[in-house]
Structure formats: structure tokens, C-alpha cells
Symmetry: C2
């Protein structure tokens, strides 16, 4: 693992120079990365298409999102709010004891390790969300390239290195390391110079790395986004009023990108009657028309096959639709509550509908769920009373609550939370998408009575 060690050593060596550079220089660097990504031209798109089987339109959109993300973080760096500057002026005459002059700013944690996601080869990979947030915070980054898109990773890495050079920053500010298996990841997470880890991927892999991060001689924060089924609640009045439209739209969200989104709607909850059969019929029709899509990797496709086959064979499940483009199964609340495995994620275009006899059963199913990235309510005015009683529970289960929409599609903005209670993520206090993600890579330092000439300049003016 000499590559990992030398990347971490260079990151450590670059840390003070990078974090001490003016915020404007840091912002310009992020913008330059975006420029360099665009300058890669069609080679990036063509390479990503070949490696991921995702269509051109999706990848061009994702490139736009990646660059938009970098530019948004650049603006956030210029604004500097994340520094959380605070000042309690001295009170020399206070009795019984005077108060010292106390000032606070956030500083970056240190070199950050990033494990990119397979399902966002651009926006959540080498130059993606975690990398952008860590660089914005002032942390050098060492990315482990996802083995599913090595060529795409190499191109993005080249763009970042070009930006590092163009901005005159130390080379150690960014490094890309690669390797199959767990050795490289283990070396990276346990390197003493790494001070935080961002991870998007499987529950098993994330939990293994999280355990390493926490049992190092110096434990470090581990931000893992692991698993979610993103419950969608079809409340009675909404279901009754627009079952067919909901069924069609649901199938669209379920099959988008072959269901390979962390916010894929994998669990539907509805009370029997009042349009549920029409919903199923519409979903079924849409799934029948949905084309089969090639999944990101052979491993993902095989795990999906395996999961759907197990569902089809499960005595407590009914197959409502089991198509090449997507699969929908149904069960009862009682059966769901009896078997916790039914709440587990199958990555891909399959969902489970839990048929509840009444609102109390629906609530019981919700209460039994693990933490989620999102929870969605489809509701009409007549559903508001029920929704109001469910909201406190939804807040405790999920990082984002949607009304009358679908959880796929995660806006990169200031108010986004792409996070949630365990096991949706390993740290519910944060988000991995949006500007609030910068906070993950900071820690506060207090300066007491420091002479003005030694104070960080941003603490002088407050």
C-alpha cells in the first residue's frame, strides 16, 4: 500500500498550506476543477458510458450537476459562513473574575479519505460531493477510485490535478488511489494522517470501514451512506383521488436509472381499499412497458436477480409485477412486521407494497422501520389530519420528508439533507449532499487573548 501511504503523507504535508490559503484561492480552485472537467470534453462522457452503461443524457446531466456542485461550494467558501466566527469580547472589569477575550473559528479536520459511489460516476465519485465538500472545508483529499469506473475516475482525477497545478497549490491537496479488494480501503481508513472518511456504498462494506475508523488508535469521523428503502406512504384520500396517476409516476421513479439510486422508492405503505387496486394496475402496466436496463456492474445485477428471486419465492409475498424493467411485490403488515429482512434494501428497480388494514397498522410498520434517507407522503387535504400524527414519527425515521413527489432526484442546495438515522447513514447529524455537507469536515478552535498580530485575519474583523 505504498501508494496510499505516499498519498496520505503528501496530503498531510499539504494541509497547512492549503487551509491557510485565502478563501478566494480555495473558491477559485473549486471553480477551476469544474472548468477542467468540462475541458475533458466528450472523452469523459464516452468513457463513463462504456464503464457504467448509463445513457449519454444522464451522464451529461450528471456532469452538469458535478460542476454546479463545485461552483456552489465555491460560492459557499467565498461567503465563509461555515467558519462560524464568534467573539466574546474581554470584560476586564467583571467581578468576581474578569473575562478574557474569546474568539472562535472552525478549522478543517485534516486529510480526508473519500470512497466514491458506483451509481454516480461523476457527481458522487472522484470529483463528487464528498470531495467538493472536503476541499471546500480546507481538507486535502485522497480518493479511492471505484473499481466499476476506473477510466472515468482517472479522467476526473486528471482534471483535479490540473486544477491543483493551475492554482499553484501543493500537489498533495489531491490524490487518487486504486485497487480491487479491501486492502487499499483498509490502508486508507487506518492511515494515521487521515482525519475523516466519506463513504457511499454497500451496508456491509460501509460497516466494515466504519469499524476500522472507530477502532484506530486515533478514531476519526466516518460518514457512510449505507442503505435505505425510502418508504412512500399513499394516504387514503390521495390514493382514492389519483390512484392511476400515482401508480404510473411510482413506476417511473422506481425504474429511473434501473433503480440504482440510494433514494429509490423501495417500500410502499397503503391502507387497503380506496384505489389501491387501481394504483397496482397502473404501476403494473407501467412496469410492463418499462424496458430492461443494463445495470452498473455484473455484481449489482446478480445481487438484484438474487433479491428478486428470493422475493418471488417468499411465502409471505405476492408478485404483483415481475418484469424485466422492474418488479413489485406485496405483503401484509403482519407479515412485514414478522420478518425484519423484508425491510432490507434490494438495490435496483424493485419495491415492496405493504398492505395495511388501517392507519394503526401503517403506523406500526413505520415504527418498525430502520433509519431512512427519505420518507414520502402522498396526501390530499383530507389526509392532513393523519399526516400530522405521522410527521413526528417520520422526522425520527428519515433525513428528508417529501409531500406529493418522489424521492429520486436530490437537489444540491442549502436546505438539502441527504442523510438520516442509522443505517441510512452512520452519522445522522449531517448530510452528504448540499452545502451543509462542508460542516462534516470542520472542528472549532477557540483563541483566548491572542495578540492581534497572531490572530487569524478573519477573527480580527468580528
Amino acid at each position: 500500500m505504498s501508494d496510499v501511504a505516499s498519498a496520505c503523507a503528501a496530503a498531510e504535508a499539504a494541509f497547512d498550506a492549503y487551509r491557510d490559503a485565502p478563501l478566494e484561492a480555495r473558491a477559485a480552485f473549486l471553480e477551476r476543477i469544474a472548468d477542467e472537467i468540462m475541458a475533458l470534453g466528450d472523452e469523459l462522457i464516452v468513457t463513463a458510458m462504456a464503464e457504467t452503461h448509463l445513457p449519454r443524457g444522464r451522464l451529461e446531466g450528471e456532469r452538469g450537476r458535478t460542476c454546479g456542485q463545485l461552483r456552489l461550494f465555491a460560492a459557499e467558501v467565498r461567503a465563509g459562513k461555515f467558519l462560524d466566527l464568534r467573539h466574546d469580547p474581554a470584560q476586564p472589569a467583571r467581578t468576581p473574575l474578569p473575562r478574557a477575550d474569546l474568539r472562535l473559528r472552525n478549522i478543517p479536520l485534516g486529510p480526508v479519505a473519500v470512497f466514491g459511489a458506483s451509481n454516480f460516476p461523476l457527481a458522487f465519485s472522484v470529483a463528487g460531493g464528498d470531495t467538493s465538500a472536503a476541499l471546500a472545508a480546507g481538507c486535502p483529499v485522497v480518493v479511492k477510485a471505484h473499481p466499476a469506473h476506473p477510466g472515468t475516475s482517472a479522467l476526473a482525477g486528471k482534471a483535479i490535478r490540473a486544477a491543483v497545478a493551475a492554482c499553484g497549490l501543493p500537489a498533495g491537496v489531491f490524490a487518487l488511489v486504486a485497487g480491487e479488494g479491501t486492502a487499499v480501503g483498509t490502508a486508507l481508513v487506518t492511515d494515521p494522517r487521515i482525519k475523516a472518511v466519506g463513504f457511499t456504498g454497500s451496508r456491509a462494506g460501509g460497516l466494515a470501514l466504519a469499524a476500522l475508523a472507530r477502532t484506530r488508535p486515533e478514531p476519526v469521523p466516518f460518514y457512510g451512506e449505507l442503505s435505505a428503502v425510502n418508504p412512500v406512504l399513499l394516504l387514503p384520500a390521495a390514493l382514492s383521488a389519483r390512484a392511476t396517476a400515482l401508480g404510473t409516476a411510482f413506476a417511473g421513479s422506481l425504474t429511473l436509472g434501473a433503480g440504482q439510486f440510494c433514494t429509490n422508492p423501495g417500500l410502499l405503505l397503503a391502507v387497503e381499499g380506496g384505489g389501491l387496486e387501481r394504483f397496482i394496475a397502473a404501476a403494473n402496466a407501467a412496469l410492463a412497458a418499462a424496458p430492461a436496463q443494463t445495470m452498473l456492474t455484473a455484481g449489482i445485477a446478480s445481487a438484484y436477480e438474487h433479491g428478486v428471486t428470493a422475493r418471488a419465492a417468499h411465502p409471505a409475498l405476492t408478485a404483483l409485477a415481475n418484469r424485466a424493467g422492474g418488479a413489485l411485490f406485496a405483503t401484509t403488515a403482519a407479515a412485514f412486521l414478522a420478518d425484519p429482512h423484508l425491510g432490507e434494501e434490494i438495490f435496483g428497480p424493485t419495491a415492496l407494497l405493504v398492505r395495511c388494514a388501517n392507519a394503526a397498522e401503517l403506523r406500526a410498520v413505520l415504527e418498525g422501520l430502520e433509519g431512512q434517507l427519505t420518507a414520502t407522503l402522498h396526501l390530499d387535504d383530507a389526509d392532513h389530519a393523519l399526516a400530522r400524527t405521522l410527521l413526528p414519527l417520520l422526522e425520527r425515521k428519515a433525513g428528508r420528508i417529501l409531500a406529493n413527489g418522489w424521492p429520486t432526484g436530490v437537489e444540491v442546495c442549502s436546505a438539502m439533507v441527504h442523510g438520516g438515522p442509522f443505517p441510512a447513514t452512520t452519522d445522522s447529524r449531517t448530510t452528504s449532499v448540499g452545502t451543509k455537507a462542508i460542516e462534516r469536515f470542520l472542528r472549532p478552535v477557540c483563541y483566548q487573548d491572542l495578540p492581534e498580530s497572531l490572530l487569524p485575519p478573519e477573527l480580527l474583523a468580528i
Copy 2:
């Protein structure tokens, strides 16, 4: 552990009602706790004096600090900044995709377990910093009483319960549990209804509880403040100019409260010559005059005895002063770097002076240190150049950097950081003193396109 289970069940049951109460009600509750503590009158002081051997003046001051802390948190709750309200308005006409309406607020994590400290029987115990911060965040609290001051704990618990009742809050908002040994603490940290833990105490105890918190089926944040020696750097010009005054003031900080502070100055770093012998002489004289003090518990006194005896017998250490009131030892930078155990905390009035041949040695000693709560510079104008080169290193080692002061005395205010890299704390991203401590008990939730009548009221107005 039925007490723990029933306390956690009650806390869980009270959570939604408590967090949904208006901020004004939460603030009034915190103020009422302060009123109820004052209403306990002298019984609280007398009980604490008997249990802790701390003098009346210190405990009256600590009571003032405890109530001031509660009132400061009440003001912070009214201001509501910790909610971090954010709003990205809908952009229905945006292409290629419209943007939804997205709003964010922080909500409390859930019931919090608090382990009070032995050395602050009021300000960091039952009604202390962690409890105040968690209640301010909207979390019910279950406190494990410290076995060193059970009567003081019971009185503070009575005051909080009286405030709960007077404010018409559910009884489960606060509970006090007690028990010797580790069974109660283990039950509390592993109870599935507990969603975060605040701990101040020993490194061994804290690490054991932290491991439990992280290996629960649902891991939870563990905020432990464990260990620090709080290096004090005597820079050459300052040492040369005022060695005697520094030596006397150092001894005062070292022996304050029998050295039983987490910010006790347990490590001195100085370059040979230029006043160091005068500093030692002055410190020695002050330590000779310092009276012996009764320590908080027999266990602490015995651990201190043991630690000082080991230092006296250590071949690489020289006893500069070994008095009833405090003990100062010296060693060389080379010896210190050769034996990592020399950097470990001995709780009580003893410090180790590391004599460095030059600034490079001083820097090497600093680089070898573990994370610290504080780092202190004594410096004059002529020392600024050296201080400037050391500051980035100090920032990476400590949560608070002081100039020309002493680390004992932790102001409760907005800019305070009582935290620092591991093992000073288990989470360097936070502070356990000051208003920023509230953030430890919050997580963000995003609301997407929620109808106005269902939105939390504070998200309507932004």
C-alpha cells in the same frame, strides 16, 4: 436495571411532547431549573461540601456558574439560531427540471444519557453543562449520578423534577439513576431509546462506554471528555522577562482545586536558559507554600499518590518540587520523546517540565503529543515569530489556544471550545462547554414541498 429501562421508556414517551413545546416554554423551563436550584438554599452547598471536600466559596461560585449556564442556554433557545433554518424556494419554471420547495431545520436527536463529572458536582453534573445543552436542544435527559456526590446529585435532581412539574412538562423529560460499578452505565448507554451520550470522566471509563455506544445495533454519538495534560509553552522572551511571576502564577493554576480540573496545566515546555531556573525557583517556592488539600475521592487521591510516586522513581525524571500541595518534575525532550507514558495525565496538582535544548526540540515534543483540551503560550513581542510558526501545530493539537493566561477557568459563553482532538475528547467537532454545545444533540431534517399547514411553524416565516 429496571430503573434505567423505565427512565429511558419515560424519556422516549416524553420526547415528542417536549420537543414540540414552543421554544419559549423550553427556555422558561431552563430558567425554572436555575430558580429551583437557588431555592434549595444552603442545603445544596453544605451537602456538596461534605461530599466533595471542596470549599464553600468554590461551590457557591460553581452554583452561580450552573445557574448562569442554564440562563444562557435559555437565551440561546429563545434566539433559536441552533435550528439552522434554511429555505430554498421552489423554482417551478427551471429547466431542464423544476426545483421543489426545500426547507431545513434541526431537530433534537432524542433521549440523551449524561454521565456527570466528579470534579464539578454542580456545573458538570446532574444539572450541569451536558444536561443543560441537551435540554436546550429539546432532548429528554437521563443522568447517571456520580457515586462521589450522591446527596448533591439527589438535590439537583429534585430541583429539576420540580421545574418539570412547575412547567407542566411530562415527567419523563428528566430522570436520575444511580448505582456503583458499571452495570447502570452499561444499561444506560446500550438502551435503544438513548440517542446520544455525554460523558466527562476517566479515559478508561470513557473509552469503554464509547465502545458500547458505537457497537450497539444502532450506534449513537458519544461525547466523552477523557484526558488532557494541557501543554503550556514558556517562550524565551516571556520567560526571560518575567520568569518569577510566571513561576508563581503557574503554581497557582496547578494547585487550584487540588489540580482537579480537566484543564490543569500538567505539562510545561521551555527552552533551556533565559530565566528557566528563576521560573523553577518561583514555582518551587509557591508549591512549598501551597497547603495540602483533600481530594474529591479516596480513589482520586490514591491514583494521584501512585502517579507522583512513579514519577519520583522514574530514572528519566528529576523532582523539582514534591510537596504536599503539589509536585513538579523535570525531564529532557529526548527522554520525553522516548517514553510516551510521560505524556499521560495524572489527575491532581502535578506537572512535568520538559526542558528543550532549542525551539526545534520544543516543536518535536509538541508534535508527539496527543490531542489536548488547551494549549497555552506565554509570549512577549519578541516571541511572536516563533509563536507564529507554532500556531498551526497548536491548532491541530488543541481545542483552545491561550496567550499569557492559564488554562484553568473555562468561560461559559458563545466562543468557548472545551473540546479537542482525541483523546482530549472522543469527538473533536464539538464543545462540551458554551452555547455551541447544543449542536451536539441535533440533526437536520429537510422538508420538501410540504403543505404549509403541515410545516413546522418556524419554517413558515423564513
